[in-house]
């Protein structure tokens, strides 16, 4: 043991080179361990089959003016409302400086007739009511979240209650006048 721990014949230069060798080995080993860790971590990310379903196409031709549908996109509901003239007017008429999360209606729709939003309350993730006929639509003619009483208007903006932000607008494109691809 003694002979091992006292490299009596080594020059300092030599021991410096040897230290470098050890650090290099540790470094390369660490790189290897990290490259092994990445596929393990990455395996928990959305897989190919999940990503393949990440966009859906919706046929809008069956939705009458004044009604709304719920479709499932990425495991969450998306509300698509065919808005009436009155609802569009209401949404546009709001003074945005009075809003909790100021956004104009024009920023939230591509085509004023169609409001497309993710139907998950931005407070704690409940599903707001107001999509199906006869459900309470809150004080602002939009949606009402029963969990903690958030009121959303006909543009899906938060008007009253604990939610911090407006209902999210997913990325979507109109493929034709009556079909839209969400995602």
């Amino acid at each position: 043991m003694a002979e091992a721990t006292q490299p009596n014949s080594d020059h300092e230069e030599d021991s410096g080179r040897r230290d470098f060798l050890n650090y290099l080995a540790i470094g390369v080993g660490a790189v290897g361990a990290a490259s092994f860790a990445w596929p393990i971590i990455n395996s928990m990310n959305p897989s190919k089959d999940v990503l393949a379903l990440a966009s859906i196409e919706v046929d809008l031709s069956q939705i009458d003016v004044g009604s709304a549908i719920k479709v499932v996109w990425r495991g969450k509901p998306v509300f698509i409302r065919h808005r009436t003239e009155k609802e569009i007017e209401e949404a546009k008429a709001v003074d945005i400086s009075t809003l909790i999360d100021p956004e104009t209606d024009a920023d939230r729709v591509q085509n004023a007739d169609w409001l497309i939003i993710v139907g998950v309350c931005t407070h704690l993730g409940c599903i707001p009511m107001g999509t199906a006929d006869g459900e309470p639509r809150g004080e602002y003619d939009g949606w009402f979240c029963p969990c903690h009483g958030s009121h959303y208007d006909s543009s899906g903006r938060i008007r009253k209650g604990p939610s911090p932000t407006n209902l999210l607008v997913p990325t979507y494109t109109f493929l034709t006048d009556s079909t839209v691809r969400i995602g």
Binding site: E3, A4, P7, R18, L21, N22, L24, A25, V28, G29, G32, S35, K48, D49, A52, L53
Partner: protein, 300 residues
């Protein structure tokens, strides 16, 4: 000590060899072909894959499904997303129930799995003389039994032959296996001699063996009499790329395509493997230096 080391090494080699011995040897193995996907750097030939897909679509898909492969996977074959989308749209898939509670047909999308020709196994069996045509997603991988003996398999493994023995089997089964008037030699290939059977008894047995009704002689099918009629004939399809559609060409292409389908990650796997082995070679070299350095003053 050295002898012990040698015997351990021999043990390891033998054990590795033993492990891969094929399931009960079913006669001779089809001749081997050199495929582009063998070896450390081998990869699939895109043209072969695309032609193979065409053979699958126009011939095999009439009876065989491929449930584990999705249209979206065809990007690997060199198709663009739009091409895949329009390819998928040529198939109808049953979806539903819709809001009225009815099932409905819609064009397939890229995210759908390959459409099966039969909606369930019972229909499949009823339309095919009582036998369900097997799903082809894993056909090559599940037939890659190797090349026979322990030694041969071990050498093939070192040459990174991968699933080539399965590709050979599938290719020859549909390409060269069907023989209308088999000779005794042909029959001996698919009907091996039983243990303890005399040569004379064996000969009489295979000479007298009659083809069961509804079967077709196939030299590479264990037991000789195959329920699948010959699927490929000269020019039974017209290749989009103009390659002459000989029986062997179609068999080769579809077998390569099915090899890809057995493991779409095949090429990624080998590319990653090269990098990993290079890295480990460097790391091993470094560790040899470190170890020598650490032990330099110890007499042992």
């Amino acid at each position: 000590m050295r002898k012990f080391g040698l015997s351990i090494a021999a043990a390891a080699l033998l054990t590795l060899g033993v492990s891969s011995q094929a399931s009960a040897a079913t006669g001779a193995h089809p001749p081997t072909t050199d495929y582009s996907f063998t070896g450390f750097f081998g990869s699939f030939d895109r043209a072969e894959l695309q032609r193979g897909l065409q053979v699958y679509k126009q011939v095999c898909a009439a009876c065989h499904g491929m449930d584990l492969v999705h249209y979206r996977d065809l990007v690997d074959l060199g198709y663009s997303e739009d091409q895949i989308k329009s390819f998928a749209a040529t198939f109808q898939v049953t979806d539903g129930p819709n809001d009225d509670g009815d099932m409905f047909d819609r064009p397939a999308e890229a995210s759908d799995a390959f459409i099966s020709p039969f909606s369930n196994d019972k229909i499949a069996a009823a339309s095919n003389g009582g036998v369900v045509p097997p799903d082809l997603s894993l056909i090559v991988k599940s037939r890659a039994n190797g090349y026979g003996g322990i030694g041969q398999n071990f050498l093939a493994m070192l040459q990174i032959k991968g699933y080539a023995s399965g590709t050979d089997y599938v290719s020859h089964l549909v390409g060269t296996g069907y023989i209308e008037e088999p000779t005794l030699e042909d029959k001996m290939v698919c009907m091996p001699q039983n243990a303890g059977e005399t040569d004379a008894a064996y000969k009489t047995r295979i000479e007298e063996h009659q083809a069961p009704p509804g079967t077709y002689f196939n030299k590479w099918f264990a037991g000789c009499y195959f329920k699948m009629p010959q699927p490929l004939y000269e020019d039974s399809i017209e290749y989009e790329d103009g390659t002459p559609a000989t029986k062997e060409q179609m068999a080769h292409d579809v077998a390569v395509f099915l090899t890809w389908a057995s493991e779409p990650a095949f090429e990624t796997r080998k590319e990653t493997g090269i990098k990993v082995l290079l890295f480990l070679a460097v790391f091993t070299g470094l560790m040899i230096a470190v170890k020598r350095n650490v032990w330099r003053n110890v007499k042992h």
